[in-house]
Symmetry: C2
Subunit: 340 residues, 2 copies
């Protein structure tokens, strides 16, 4: 850093003048460098391989900014990549918009930007354009990040909740609750905090292979806010079917379960950042499962239940470990603020 | 509103559960309705007319949320549309990501969303996907909005700062400083506040016509943060040329000038939200000017200066009203926090 440069973010860093330029050229561009971004135009010009695209956005307000297994920057890349991935697209380009609170240490911003650059490279996407705003101390909480993403739709892949039919299998690519329980445990400072780790990961490689290899993969969604419970409830709300899952088949790490029990959470409602739920035709289910298990991000994959003929009101039902049944409801939403 | 619904935003509105769904279905979708958005997928699927696109993003943190001539919602649509427009694209689709502070009145959110819907319809773009996050009271300031946008590049239109040559004319589509002085006057509560009005407007119709009718339009940029001074300095920094402008030709409303004088601002540094600077070959300049003046958003358009052979260090120079010259510098950035 040049001697004259402040060590913390000033309001003037967002003013569109000299200091904004300095921030962009010294701190933002180097870790993210690519041709489209370096043009610094009002918008990035892209030539896509197809005009059939997916387009998505998410803001990230996670607290704390750094956690076991990731940070807000990694999350901001993975979350948006995954929204494209589960929709059947190959992620291509992301935007990056920062809202930074006056007083944030420049070093903290640098760590986050490095993480963004690294995660984007690993996921095969480019950050092609961006924006930085600053707000006065007390008007934001450190940093909020928005990423929007464009993906090119995979040829022949047309997932849709409307394709789901009775008998389809529900597959998940691994353990649930890891991200949310890591964040909340870190916030609460519980003792086995260090044994928990966010599952934050970019899923496009695995989802792309599944979609392209198996016509029987009908629908995928990433199980973020609201957890597995929210995704399964969206499926039953959209269709005319019920969903039954078996508690014994839902992969959960013992430490995650212990943390959830201790803090009074239902793991089914807890956010994940590297998990998708796939609805798969029964004849493809075992092959899909085996492909997942061969992939770094699917080693604990499991078939956790089925789509069933609907009772009068379609429901998500859990067959419990002790032989009972309970309805899994759409969570109300108050479980975990600022989890992503 | 259903009786049971809270009148203010709760943290749980961002939790991804029932309350999030309620917010989306009752408040967000109705004013924005379109087919792509209603699918509520993880990402919107779009079939563009071309794979040659522009992609942009901006966050909006303006304070106050409502001001003469606009509000944060109108700004969030116009600002992103304009970034696509000046780059030579026809704006097609926007994302909409909200970060809402716990306690914001639902009615305030509704007013903003209606403004977004109306502005998007007028500008001919669709809000195709979105995201809503909530943060605790005190962790944001009412609402922050991010929009990302996709535009299809106009065939044959390839603007570039590298095309600029000595002799090119600098054109602006109207008065400068209106947006910034409106915001700051409203914040400071100065007495002629009510006579000021933001120029916030979507420029794509006018810029599209200019680009397509006149091959001589080489480059455009919207003069937002940092104002006219920042755009002109970017031009000289990128090229090997200087820029000279004439103070008497720069259109400024008397009330804007008076407010700036009173508060100690240089209008050249003040943000606009409905103004572009165009660099035009001399032979096209008069026709461009005349076309602008026939358009609702260009009635006060003016040719304010020229691109000139560079001195050793390329500079932006202002020929002042009284016959002097002064260098127009890149503003430092501290002038106006949270202006957009």
């Amino acid at each position: 850093m040049a001697k004259s440069e402040p060590e913390r973010i000033l309001l003037a860093h967002g003013g569109g003048g000299q200091l904004t330029n300095q921030l962009i050229h010294r701190h933002i561009l180097p870790p993210l460098a690519n041709d489209a971004l370096s043009e610094l135009g009002d918008s990035a010009r892209l030539d896509l391989v197809s005009s059939s695209i997916c387009f998505t956005t998410d803001s990230y307000v996670v607290k704390p900014l750094f956690f076991n297994g990731g940070d807000i920057g990694k999350l901001a890349v993975c979350g948006t990549v995954n929204d494209l991935a589960v929709a059947g697209a190959e992620p291509v380009a992301l935007t990056l918009a920062l809202i930074v609170e006056e007083g944030l240490e420049l070093q903290t911003l640098e760590r986050i930007l490095e993480s963004i650059g690294r995660t984007a490279r690993e996921a095969g996407v480019s950050i092609v354009t961006g924006d930085t705003k600053t707000v006065e101390r007390g008007s934001a909480d450190g940093i909020f990040i928005n990423t929007a993403g464009i993906g090119v739709r995979l040829p022949g892949v047309e997932p849709g909740i409307g394709k789901i039919a009775v008998g389809d299998k529900i597959l998940i690519n691994g353990t649930i609750g890891d991200h949310g329980m890591t964040i909340i445990s870190q916030r609460e400072g519980i003792r086995f905090e260090s044994q928990l780790q966010s599952d934050c990961a970019a899923l496009a490689d695995l989802t792309g292979t599944l979609y392209q290899r198996f016509g029987g993969v009908k629908f995928m969604r990433d199980a973020t806010r609201g957890g597995l419970a929210a995704v399964l409830n969206e499926i039953v709300e959209a269709g005319r079917f019920g969903v039954e899952i078996r508690e014994t088949d839902v992969p959960i790490k013992p430490t995650v379960q212990a943390a959830a029990d201790m803090l009074g959470f239902d793991v089914l409602n807890i956010a994940n950042e590297g998990k998708f739920v796939a609805v798969v035709a029964p004849e493809s289910a075992e092959e899909c499962l085996s492909l997942c298990r061969d992939h770094r991000l699917g080693q604990d994959a499991a078939i956790i239940g089925e789509v069933v003929a609907a009772p009068e009101v379609p429901l998500v039902e859990l067959h419990t470990r002790i032989g009972g049944r309970r309805v899994v409801q759409m969570p109300y939403g108050r479980e975990l603020p600022r989890i992503c």
